[in-house]
Symmetry: C2
Subunit: 304 residues, 2 copies
């Protein structure tokens, strides 16, 4: 089974305001509460592909209870979050002509909750496949992804990591099945700007040589690249109109993990990654199975 971990989930509280005035009292015309968190998004897309998976991480307080109850609506997600007392962060998204975000810093995760998460990880079955996604809540040791990956490697459990933290290079050395940096993240990791695709590919090849089995570099509207044992591939973006790119990267992870764990080739898994990413970007919500299956036939993959 696939296990996703979201160590810093959120509620995205979307408020529509006509014209905000600073230093004054404004009124929102309508509000939406969306559950957020990269691993949770992966779980939802896997659910949409009818792949059973278990979601864990930390949820706290009344806002955590909301995420908990929303997750229970998904038929294929087993909800296994560790609960804490203080609220999971609520991020504000103020929509007017421009969008202003204010992300909450959230409460610190207590040590016993971190230990409970480790207990879950130690109890993973041998055939587990693990997805670690997103930032870390306060109180969680910076090294936790490295520590978990080291443990998973020691048990020969496959894992995927998607984080913008500076530890990606160390994680690559631990042999993840997939890492998926975008251009900006890769540039930050290597502390240099890539002049052209060749420089990007060189950076991806380095991560692959370091140990990452598959490296997907996502390039937004310019498609994506896969670097792996079988070669270097580039996927085009299928036709469609960008609606909301939130969760597109998480959907790529889900698409790849879907293909990989049911035994597809790396290139076919990459096709599902690209299709799921676009399916999410072209809709208000996360990718559906139908959208993914429609878009995947419209994607061209060429070996470079």
């Amino acid at each position: 089974m696939i296990y996703t971990y979201t160590l810093n989930p959120s509620i995205d509280y979307v408020m529509h305001v006509d014209a905000i005035q600073f230093g004054a009292t404004n009124r929102s015309t309508s509000e939406i509460y969306k559950i957020g968190g990269k691993g949770i998004n992966v779980s939802v897309v896997l659910n949409n592909l009818a792949i059973k998976n278990r979601a864990s991480g930390f949820l706290g307080g009344f806002s955590g209870n909301f995420i908990d109850s929303e997750l229970k609506k998904y038929q294929h997600i087993e909800n296994d979050f560790v609960h804490t007392e203080l609220p999971t962060r609520i991020n504000i998204k103020i929509k007017q002509d421009v969008e202003t975000e204010i992300n909450g810093s959230g409460a610190a995760i207590p040590e016993d909750a971190i230990e409970a998460l480790w207990q879950q990880i130690r109890n993973l079955p041998d055939d587990a496949f693990v997805v670690l996604s997103g930032s870390l809540a306060k109180g969680v040791p910076e090294s936790i992804y490295i520590d978990i990956c080291q443990y998973l490697k020691s048990r020969n459990i496959g894992f995927v990591v998607d984080t913008a933290s500076a530890t990606l290079l160390d994680i690559a050395k631990l042999g993840p099945v997939l890492i998926k940096p975008n251009r900006e993240e890769l540039e930050a990791f290597y502390n240099s700007e890539f002049a052209d695709d060749q420089a990007l590919i060189a950076a991806g090849k380095r991560l692959h040589a370091d140990g990452a089995q598959h490296v997907i570099i996502s390039l937004g509207g310019k498609g994506s690249m896969l670097i792996c044992e079988q070669g270097i591939y580039r996927a085009t973006v299928p036709k469609g109109t960008l609606v909301d790119s939130v969760g597109a990267g998480d959907s790529m992870i889900a698409g790849f993990v879907y293909g990989f764990t049911i035994g597809m080739s790396a290139v076919e898994s990459f096709r599902y990654a690209a299709a799921a990413g676009s399916a999410t970007a072209y809709s208000r919500d996360l990718a559906t199975k139908d959208a993914i299956n429609t878009l995947k036939d419209d994607i061209e993959i060429v070996q470079l």
Copy 2:
């Protein structure tokens, strides 16, 4: 027993942001969740004065559950809210050098919940004392305060109403024990600016003549006035430093209701109102019993 009704409660989500940038992603350095709603504030101050009371109104969804569980921490509050499915509104308070508020509009209250509230009101015991405070959630009929007051009058149950809505003049005619407009509200009701205290007093006297048993006009840092059968009184503001005036008006209601329902004279009840208002304004939280008792001796009340 005292029954408070809050028909549009909220969570105030206070976010501290160093320097907000519009159209960008900002991070809050710390967050606090406070339960809000005028009737709830009255209940909390009554609780602090060790007066048992029952709090009702509408609470919904995960945010309503939070208010519900917070209210359960107060020993003297019986929690009797009607629950609905969609979330109670969350109001955002962004604190930096200036404070910007964005109030949620909240979900509409369904008809069966309104009927459940009426059922509670119809079941009130003869010795009930009712406090109706604050704005109305979406879906609640504009006339509900008038309708409830008419019903309470028919049953000879005492009531206090604190609302900025245009119905105050109609409510005055139904004989409330207390109404507590501030200067701005009075000016809005009468659609005119009051040049001096005499004009304010004239307006208060009119409300009293219309039927309101006691009219308190709150004037912020300039104290307050009481107009009632016994005469016209003015209370000074006790010494202290303004910390946060949120809930000060609700605390005045609680202070007056406290005195009135245990049999104090109107003037002594007014003293408690003034003391509770200042006690809240001079602290980060709502008035405590100790603060009220300390400040009340420092208030001068003169008959005009």
